[in-house]
């Protein structure tokens, strides 16, 4: 069975292994021990902080295969991006050029560098070990974050966004990068991607094109990659799109992967989550699959299990109660999976 819990320093080796597996294009999760250690430290510190409004906190969660007590996935949330250095995206806007006399009316899509997502909470780095990329584990890990947000709304902004990984081949070649970023950064995609994860992002402002890029003037392969999700991320993307995330015309400046966003309150899991008491499941009904969370901040943990909503709370199997370390009467939070 799976359990999601907040990260601890002891998880570092496991995270490093996961990061290496994840590979290029997941800029929020670099395979750099020092940076990972920083991320764990930041998560610990954030959970120990009293927060009135979102600031520079970040939260990291791990997915544990409880049968072997092994870490097989991780994900996170940044309370706010763009606080220290602006958070850059391309906004795809149509520029209209019309000549009534020639009866020409052109709508030309163009990429505008912007920092419209600065000041917004971001879901980051959903990474799951290949052997565990099943529907339950993926959905549990993805939605566990949303339960956390529902539980601590004061820690996040009302709008949430996620960057989905864009198209690149197994060697890390991105047609979009090749046509655009490469000319301005004088480095390959892997390096830019890595730098963007480990350094402050001033270099982006320094090097990025300041004027809009007219899409039709790019090579076709690059045009075709705009807003396209990397094959490997399609499963996690589907989960988020079903939750209610939407594409609003923003893409990543490196690989043109789509950015999707939502108002927190409109996400299914958040809108439909309930809280109440942990109860024991009557033996007859097994109940539908739910995600269930318990614990406060550092001890926050989430699992997926059959459960049955009852008037006073949610009926859980004995094993689930143990996994969550709750007894009947303890306060829990849940949503259907």
């Amino acid at each position: 069975m799976y359990l999601v819990r907040t990260v601890d320093f002891a998880d570092l080796p496991a995270l490093e292994r996961l990061a290496q597996q994840a590979g290029i294009g997941i800029t929020n999760f670099p395979a750099n021990r020092e940076r990972l250690n920083d991320k764990i430290a930041s998560s610990r510190r954030s959970l120990q902080t009293d927060v009135i409004q979102p600031g520079d906190e970040s939260y990291l969660f791990v997915l544990v295969d409880t049968s072997k007590d092994e870490i097989v996935g991780c994900c996170g949330i940044d309370a706010i991006v763009g606080n220290d250095a602006p958070f850059y995206s391309y906004r795809i806007d149509e520029v209209v050029h019309a000549s009534p006399q020639l009866q020409i009316h052109n709508r030309i899509p163009a990429l505008f560098l912007c920092h419209d997502y600065s000041g917004t909470s971001r879901l980051i780095a959903l990474v799951v070990d290949k052997a565990h990329q099943n529907a339950t584990a993926m959905a549990l890990l993805s939605k566990a974050r949303l339960l956390f947000i529902a539980r601590y709304p004061e820690r996040f902004t009302k709008r949430l966004f996620v960057e989905l990984r864009g198209e690149s081949d197994k060697h890390g070649y991105s047609a979009f990068w090749d046509a655009l970023g490469k000319h301005f950064f004088s480095m390959d995609f892997q390096k830019a991607d890595y730098l963007s994860a480990i350094s402050n992002k001033h270099f982006i402002a320094d090097l990025m094109p300041r004027y809009p890029i007219y899409v039709p003037t790019l090579p076709e392969a690059a045009q075709d990659a705009i807003g396209v999700i990397h094959e490997k991320s399609s499963q996690s993307a589907d989960i988020l799109l079903e939750e209610g995330f939407e594409f609003r015309g923003y893409v990543d400046i490196f690989d043109a992967g789509p950015t999707i966003e939502a108002r927190t309150e409109n996400l299914n899991t958040i809108a439909n989550q309930k809280s109440g008491k942990a109860l024991t499941l009557t033996e007859i009904s097994k109940g539908a699959m739910h995600i269930v969370s318990a614990g406060h901040l550092e001890s926050f943990r989430v699992t997926a299990a059959p459960a049955e909503p009852q008037a006073a709370g949610l009926g859980l199997e004995q094993a689930t109660q143990e996994r969550l370390a709750v007894s009947p009467g303890h306060r829990i939070q849940w949503a259907t999976l």
């Binding site: 520029v95 050029h97 019309a98 000549s99 006399q101 020639l102 020409i104 052109n106 030309i108 163009a110 046509a179 655009l180 000319h183 301005f184 950064f185 004088s186 480095m187 730098l195 350094s199 001033h202 270099f203 320094d206 090097l207 990025m208 094109p209 300041r210 004027y211 809009p212 890029i213 007219y214 039709p216 003037t217 790019l218 090579p219």
Partner: protein
């Protein structure tokens, strides 16, 4: 003898015949009688103005006449100002630097910036010489006669003048710059865009062209390579202007990327080095050998310019044959302007 003179009302047929020979892309001389007649009217009116204190809308179109046959075999022109009726567009090839000291990256990115910087400037244009007359320095005479006129009447032109040079396109008229850039914004083809422009209809450029600078490094190599380059056929004309002191100052045509060359009138060799002297009529010594000289009269309406070869450098006076004097429309003691045809002839 080959004589440069202002065009006149009897030249319409000849001009039409020339226009037919210019071919695609030579938009300032299109074989259309009404257009050509209008052009002649404008030129006649311009050469008739005796007193001009500053340049306005004059269009000085001249022709090269072979006096032995009476044929018109070439044209050259000067527009006193461009861009005051309809906007005159160019791209300025500028530089934007992107540098990150942190990463040790320094990129100087070339950009194309749409502008009307030549607004109000004088332009030399409409240079065309019939193919079977492309010898005996006729091309130089045709091109440089304009500088003699400018030297004599500088008040009729702006301090700086420029010339647009035809850019690179292949034998089918396909321009690499247009294919990579203009095409995406215009939804019409190069020839049509070029024609509209030459008819003075430029509103569509403002309407359809992107306002923002275009990053040159994002253009395909074949488009980048033609920026500021001339068509093979135009290379000699470019060299000729450069020898006279014209310079490419990073302005290019918005359609084909051909360079604009510019010069201060007073810095043009033929203007700077030309001088007035008195004409004598008689038997010139040393004629037919030695250096070539451009010789023009000092008249507006009856402007004339011819080429004379002489082994004796002219001093404060110059002896001409009666035929030369007649072709220059001058009498003994009249002022004439002379300069060596080229600095290294």
């Amino acid at each position: 003898m080959m004589v440069i003179r202002p065009i006149n009302q009897n030249d319409l047929k000849s001009l039409y015949r020339l226009a037919e020979k210019t071919g695609i892309g030579f938009t300032s001389l299109v074989a259309n009688e009404a257009t050509l007649q209008k052009k002649i009217n404008g030129a006649v009116r311009s050469f008739c103005k005796e007193n001009v204190s500053s340049p306005t809308d004059e269009d000085y179109l001249m022709v090269l006449e072979d006096t032995t046959t009476g044929d018109i075999v070439g044209t050259c022109g000067i527009l006193a100002t461009v861009g005051l009726e309809e906007p005159f567009y160019s791209y300025h090839l500028g530089t934007i630097t992107h540098a990150s000291r942190e990463l040790g990256v320094h990129n100087a990115v070339p950009t194309l910036i749409l502008n009307n910087d030549f607004t109000g400037f004088s332009e030399i244009c409409t240079l065309f010489l019939e193919e079977n007359y492309r010898h005996s320095k006729n091309g130089q005479l045709l091109s440089k006669a304009r500088f003699m006129f400018m030297a004599q009447f500088p008040e009729r032109f702006t301090e700086k003048v420029f010339a647009e040079m035809r850019g690179v396109s292949d034998e089918n008229g396909v321009s690499p710059l247009w294919e990579s850039l203009g095409r995406h914004f215009f939804s019409i083809d190069f020839v049509q865009a070029d024609e509209l422009t030459s008819q003075g209809n430029k509103q569509f450029i403002a309407e359809l062209m992107p306002n923002n600078p275009v990053y040159v490094n994002l253009l395909p190599k074949e488009a980048r390579d033609v920026l500021g380059q001339v068509h093979t056929n135009t290379a000699p004309a470019r060299r000729l202007l450069e020898q006279e002191g014209f310079r490419y100052e990073n302005y290019v045509d918005i359609f084909d990327g051909g360079p604009s060359l510019e010069a201060r009138v007073q810095d043009i060799r033929a203007v700077r080095d030309s001088r007035l002297c008195l004409a004598n009529i008689g038997q010139p010594k040393g004629a037919g050998e030695g250096s070539y000289y451009l010789v023009s009269n000092a008249k507006v309406t009856d402007f004339r310019c011819i080429l004379i070869q002489s082994s004796i450098p002219p001093d404060t006076a110059m002896t001409l044959t009666q035929e030369e004097a007649d072709n220059l429309c001058i009498k003994t003691e009249d002022s004439i302007r002379i300069v060596e045809l080229s600095s290294n002839s």
